[in-house]
């Protein structure tokens, strides 16, 4: 089975702050990490390869420094990695991004399965996986929580939704986005990490993937971000309860009752 895993370098959102003037994330000094949801896609791909044979290729689009997440993927056990990096890709929205990724997948050739995390934690759109499927005109299963069975022609998966799950048969080639909990992602081994330092990661430009540059970047993106703003701050306060253990317990119970918690 030939599997491509699409991964993204994102800012560590725990530390993210938004510029009050521009309403954009302040990226300076922000640590860049592998999108947490992508770790589940990588793990699933590696497990499928280990069970059924084949190869796993990690694919990412971003600035040159995004190579770091591809090296991380190598250290986890994927076989090779490709970076799409060029000024022409800059400013792409989810539609243009999924177009570029689909062109790369087509260029790789012979791919049976594309795996993505359910969404990236910086944009939270969950659109790139389905976008790739649309561009390739492949079947897709989103929010996959379990792979039940793999046959030559396709796989049976569970798709999570709010009230339970759907059992779906998905013929190859297919695109799947996976949710947290589908597996337990491994952490890199030292051997893997050392190997990742030595591997060559090719950088593909639009011409390498036969992409129409008119469909890339800001100009190729139908979406416009009109406004970004931070969520309202959570209101929280601390109340210190003093007294004997019994008095404290009674006061705590009173406070909880006031808030209808007990």
């Amino acid at each position: 089975m030939k599997i491509v895993v699409c991964i993204k370098q994102v800012p560590a959102t725990n530390d993210a702050k938004i510029d009050p003037e521009t309403k954009r994330i302040i990226r300076e000094g922000l640590k860049a990490i592998l999108n947490p949801f992508d770790t589940y896609a990588l793990e699933e791909a590696i497990q499928l390869r280990d069970q059924f044979g084949g190869e796993v290729i990690a694919l990412s689009m971003g600035p040159p420094k995004a190579e770091a997440v591809l090296r991380e993927a190598i250290s986890l056990g994927v076989d090779s990695a490709i970076l799409l990096s060029d000024r022409a890709y800059g400013g792409s929205d989810t539609w243009a991004t999924s177009y570029a990724l689909s062109r790369a997948i087509d260029t790789i050739g012979g791919v049976d399965l594309v795996l993505c995390g359910k969404q990236a934690v910086d944009g939270d759109t969950a659109q790139v996986g389905p976008g790739i499927a649309a561009h390739l005109d492949w079947m897709q299963a989103t929010y996959v929580m379990a792979v039940d069975e793999v046959q030559d022609a396709g796989m049976t998966v569970k798709r999570m939704h709010e009230d339970g799950y759907d059992v779906c048969e998905v013929p190859f080639p297919a695109v799947m986005t996976v949710v947290k909990g589908i597996n337990t992602p491994r952490v890199p081994t030292l051997k893997g990490r050392l190997a990742s330092l030595k591997i060559d990661i090719p950088v593909w430009k639009p011409a390498d993937i036969g992409a129409d540059v008119e469909r890339l970047g800001l100009d190729g993106s139908p979406t416009r971000v009109v406004k970004t703003q931070p969520p309202p701050p959570r209101s929280s306060s601390t109340k210190r309860i003093e007294g004997s253990p019994e008095e404290c317990a009674n006061a705590l119970l009173h406070e909880l009752r006031l808030r209808s918690i007990v």
Partner: protein, 266 residues
Amino acid sequence: MRRHIQKKIYHVEVLPPKQDTEKLEADLERFANKYNRVLDNGYCACITDNAMGLLAFQGTELIEELSLPVKPEQVMIHLNTFHTKVELDIILNTCQSMGIQYLLAITGDGSDRLPKLQPADVGAEDVESVTSVELMRYIGREYSDVFTMGVAFNPYEPADHEFAKLDRKLDAGAEFIITQPIIEKNAVVDKLLADYPDIPVVLEAWMSKKLHLLSDAVGYEIPEDTAYDPMATLEMLHRTYPQCGMYLSLLGFKTQFDKITDTWVS
């Protein structure tokens, strides 16, 4: 472990390189140098396991990959409960094949990236989560008589609770105790030594000058400008607790390492 104390063998913490380091090769070289210095001086190298939930490389893979020597009496591997069952067995099998004798079993600190052992993984379906107790029971069952296991003791927790936990740990197979950092004579440690005279106790000596970093561990705020002399504290601990071993955390290898040889004089 009793022999370590009698022979004045320090336990020196050697922190493994972090997973997210950007200078891995330099960090590996530094780790190897520290490890070798500890062994060459006859001390015991203690390698932590994702301390504070920060992802780092495993002690066993570091020893293997860097072809470091293992002297059974001089290596201790920390082992916490944040592993998959597969990883746990690989670590234990590697320890066994390398001849590593000492394990420090701790519940440990998790993180988003670290898996947690499940009760079924260690044959402990009667509990809701795996602690060092279930971990030790598993090791004792699956690797009978292979390892000497130690446990952590925190004198800053409510004493009744901590001693009850200690009893469970000893019942599960713990054969020595390593405390949280001790910076002065401590009544709970005194009680520990009085009530458990047959169990070797190793005190953690805090070798960093930044005492305020211990605020969370001791449960009260230590001002950042608090003056602290680690070497003087180590000497005080030797004088006050001559029956105990010493675990040196955050030891400075440039300035402190060569001086500790003459510190244990009792």
